[in-house]
Symmetry: C2
Subunit: 239 residues, 2 copies
Amino acid sequence: MNNETIKVACSNCNVRELCMPIGLTIEELSRVDELVAMRRPVKRGATLFRNGEKFTSLFAIRTGFFKTCVTTEDGRDQVTGFQMAGEIIGLDGIVNDQHTCDAIALEDAEVCVLPFDRIEEISREVNALQHHVHKIMSREIVREHGVMLLLGSMRAEERLAAFLLNLVQRMQARGFSKSELVLRMTREEIGSYLGMKLETVSRAFSKFSEDGMVEVKQRHVHIKDAEGLKRIVNSQLCH
Amino acid sequence: MNNETIKVACSNCNVRELCMPIGLTIEELSRVDELVAMRRPVKRGATLFRNGEKFTSLFAIRTGFFKTCVTTEDGRDQVTGFQMAGEIIGLDGIVNDQHTCDAIALEDAEVCVLPFDRIEEISREVNALQHHVHKIMSREIVREHGVMLLLGSMRAEERLAAFLLNLVQRMQARGFSKSELVLRMTREEIGSYLGMKLETVSRAFSKFSEDGMVEVKQRHVHIKDAEGLKRIVNSQLCH
DNA sequence: CGCCGCATTGACGTTCGTCAAGTCTAGTGG
DNA sequence: CCACTAGACTTGACGAACGTCAATGCGGCG
């Protein structure tokens, strides 16, 4: 009804349970609300932060979809992750006070800006927040272990199957279908993340499609046989 | 001189500047000393912690050399890192209160046991420690980005060159030679870390040797042309 | 001295990258 | 409303890089 200079507050945010600790007392909750300095819209294709930029804040994704990627001087490029609502990005910037990767919106998005010094300050008073921050960073480390496993020991189809299952599982945790999926990234970006070429991604999609495990229509993916995909991931085709 | 039930203290530890924050006041330093619950020797081949074990502590490596690896139920296996003196391991355990990988000593080692609840407690009082913990976790995230880049976009020889340069650079930071290297891991473990087979590792070593960039004798590696290796890493052989 | 695990090397096969041609779709402008 | 275009995607043919399998060499330890 009334126009809203949307009150910035975690306490009534719909992705709260994804990015904030649970079981806070009322007063703790109001302290945590102070974390969010502002909200910031990010247009599709725009960068939220870029390699080399000064680090000041973490970002909690309220809506939208991002990719993060690292680049080397010699032009190598690697997507290190895809992030969706409720996830925190920018953790890479803490260690040297500057970001070491680019974060780019793959669809129109909105993020909460969380100044890191404020996070540290409030963490000292609210134990649950302190532990939550540690868990978020640990979770990212564990996730990356999984990616290393995927890149280091899986073949193309196994990688894509694992990727699709992971995506759909995260969507499901956000209340979306566990069989219907709209990819926000190109084949090339998927390939970069999975360490393979876009043609190989495309072929793997076609293969799954032939085998009746998914229906693929451009970026629309319908997963008809999640169990089949799981078998692919765990197949260890040889040995 | 006198026999030592070695006093457990960071303040006079020789790898302090590697694992502890710098610029602490005297009283802060004494608080930080309380972090170390005990020291624990780990024999070569022994596991410091294992996937599934309850997480209680981080470990700071005083001496020795470790590998960490993740395993899947279907028997896939991936070395996620090699850790040496001054580095902290166990961060993966925070998120779910249990370890998600195995840590195995590749040579006789000694670690400091840092109970994590004590870390959190003292972090609240000593800001420098709080920030240091954040930096350590962020550093690990950034390191893993680098591994993802390596696994996702480099060819075999580029990976091995990058690996050798990274190892020697870390050894140098610890006061060792920047050209002389004793590998503590097998070809197979190197291969697992780099996402390639042990034979491919061996062939890459032989290639470097033929090209006069290194001398290899089993696990002894002499780096004769670090610049050459750097060129390999940045070569982008095709394109 | 002999064994065993690790490492090297060679021959061959598979997977995936490369290059190229062609198709589909969404978006734009007449 | 339709035609046109650019970018994304698919598919095929071929080759390079790496994995696989197997034989052999080497060094350390009991």
